[in-house]
Amino acid sequence: MSTIKEYLTADHARCDDLFASMEDSASRSIKDAKASYDIFASSSERHFQMEEKVMFLEFEAKTGMTQGPTAMMRQEHTQMRSLVSQMGEAIADENKDRFFGLSETLMILMQQHNMKEEQMLYTMAQQHLNADSDRVVEMMESMIVE
């Protein structure tokens, strides 16, 4: 089974691919981008929740750090959720320029965020939760998105 770091890093890559295919379909027709947008939006939401409801909680319980890096990552999730929902509105309004303006912003924000997680937080989480790694990954995999 993959480690926490490997599992979540692979999920970032999966979300990046879905992001790219959403932009691809939006560049062809903004009207038809709804389906690929929905897949990207639900996948990224699932990723956020896997962290917020499973990994961050385990990490905080183990390290006692509740106001540290996980708080910052939650804050950035909020910023990204806001952009994702605005992109949904832009598709509904069939406003292509606005959609790509938002997607460009989200892309850079998302990549900065992923980089911090992959370089630092996941490495740290893997160190602290090494013994429980399989259990944490299983919990993330079987989690039901709310």
Partner: protein
């Protein structure tokens, strides 16, 4: 493990990188005017004072300013380290570097010893200050990735490039040591272009290309070995140049080979990228790749023509580095404006694409490309230097405007403090 980099509060203030970004195009415009008022035959010698002034207005004023500004912004994100007192240091270093560069331009132009001495002092202190705090941050990095490693190696070459630069400036003050000028300036330029700028660009590309364009990742061989192989080549070149000049062509070939391979890899990865968008930043990556390829070959070719084509080599490598830097400005400035405003709680912020006029940035790109072609043509048709310079000046003026525009949005939003967006709480 250092986690301060994960904090928005401890991300460098927007002023740290942006002060460098805002003055960079100004120096490029100035360099454009110097070229306009110079002539092709003077500029075809790399040792003429005009050439030295123009080169340094661009390399210090434009290239190193953007590289230093970007290092202050990227290190905390990439490596999770905080640069100590980054706001204060970048502010003072920036003032010293601007004053030092102006003093150097004046000193070299008018052969004024006092101005050159002052320039040496200001540039020396300015560069030392900012590079020291960056090095202090790098030392604390625990989790080195390929990009941070490349940044460290690039800083090593930067330090030597600057030390040699200060020495070279001193040769214009004390004539007794002018005999060393040729060899030191040769090392200074090659280490500056390939060691400082080249390696930094390669390191940042490892991250940026797969991330921002969803391009395939670089292979482990590239990430782990290429920077060391290039560094080895640069040392080999140094030793052969000093001790056995005829062999230096081998080292040149070695360094060129890896840069050419890098340029080709960039082109292939861009072609295979999953993100379909093709904006001006993609064009700049493409042009950088082409210019670096041509530059690498002409650099070798030049060896067989007693360095007749050295100006063409400089135009190609200069065009390569300027392309990367300009493309990066188009991404980073609007993002920083958005990011800092958003972190302050403002929700009604223009998107990145609304901050910079796309049409203008495309015009800027074409004018820049026309200027490069003109600079090469000036080799055969002298008058085209003036046409190329004009095109370059206008292109850099547009770039200046494109950097200022997002900053004006930032200032306006902070000043007018629009109400926080409450639409998320609306009932309908």
């Amino acid at each position: 493990m250092e986690l301060n980099g994960l904090s928005i509060d401890q991300a460098p203030p927007i002023s740290a990188p942006v002060r460098f970004y805002l003055t960079a195009p100004l120096f490029a415009i100035l360099a454009g005017f110097f070229m306009f008022f110079s002539d092709a035959s003077t500029l075809s010698s790399r040792y003429s004072l005009d050439t030295i002034v123009i080169t340094h207005t661009l390399t210090i004023g434009f290239l190193s300013f953007i590289m230093l500004g970007s290092l202050t912004q990227m290190l905390p994100v990439l490596a999770g380290v905080v640069i100590p007192k980054v706001d204060k240091v970048s502010k003072i270093a920036h003032i010293l570097l601007v004053a030092g560069l102006i003093s150097m331009i004046y000193g070299l132009h008018s052969q004024n010893t006092d101005a050159n001495t002052l320039a040496m002092l200001l540039l020396g202190v300015g560069f030392s200050m900012i590079i020291s705090v960056i090095v202090m941050a790098v030392i604390r990095v625990k989790n080195f990735n390929a990009t941070v490693k490349a940044m460290s190696v690039s800083l090593f070459f930067a330090i030597f490039t600057i030390l040699m630069g200060i020495f070279l400036l001193y040769t214009y003050i004390d004539d007794d040591i002018a005999q060393y000028r040729y060899i030191i300036s040769n090392i200074h330029s090659v280490w500056g272009i390939f060691g400082f700028a080249g390696i930094l660009i390669i390191g940042v590309t490892f991250q940026v290309l797969p991330m921002f364009y969803v391009a395939p990742k670089f292979k482990q061989f590239c990430k782990k070995k290429v920077v060391w192989l290039i560094s080895f080549g640069l040392f080999l070149w140094l030793f052969t140049t000093i001790f056995y000049e005829p062999l230096s062509i081998v080292a040149k070939g070695w360094v060129s080979l890896f840069f050419w391979a890098f340029a080709t890899t960039v082109w292939i990865k861009l072609t295979r990228r999953k993100r379909p968008i093709s904006d001006v930043t993609v064009w700049y990556w493409r042009s950088a790749s082409v210019l670096l390829t041509i530059g690498s070959f002409v650099w070798i070719f030049d060896e067989y023509f007693s360095h007749e084509y050295v100006v063409m080599v400089s135009v190609m490598f200069g065009g390569f580095i300027l392309s990367i830097m300009t493309g990066m400005l188009y991404k980073i400035v609007p993002f920083l404006v958005w990011f800092h405003l958003n972190a302050m709680g403002y929700m009604t912020i223009p998107t990145m694409n609304e901050m910079i006029d796309k049409r203008l940035s495309k015009i800027q790109f074409f004018l820049f490309m026309i200027s490069l072609v003109g600079f090469v043509l000036a080799f055969y048709i002298p008058i085209s230097l003036q046409v190329a310079s004009l095109s370059f000046i206008i292109s850099m003026m547009i770039l200046q405007y494109n950097v200022i525009a997002p900053m004006l949005i930032y200032i306006k939003i902070k000043k007018t403090k629009p109400d926080f967006d409450m639409s998320a709480f609306a009932t309908t």
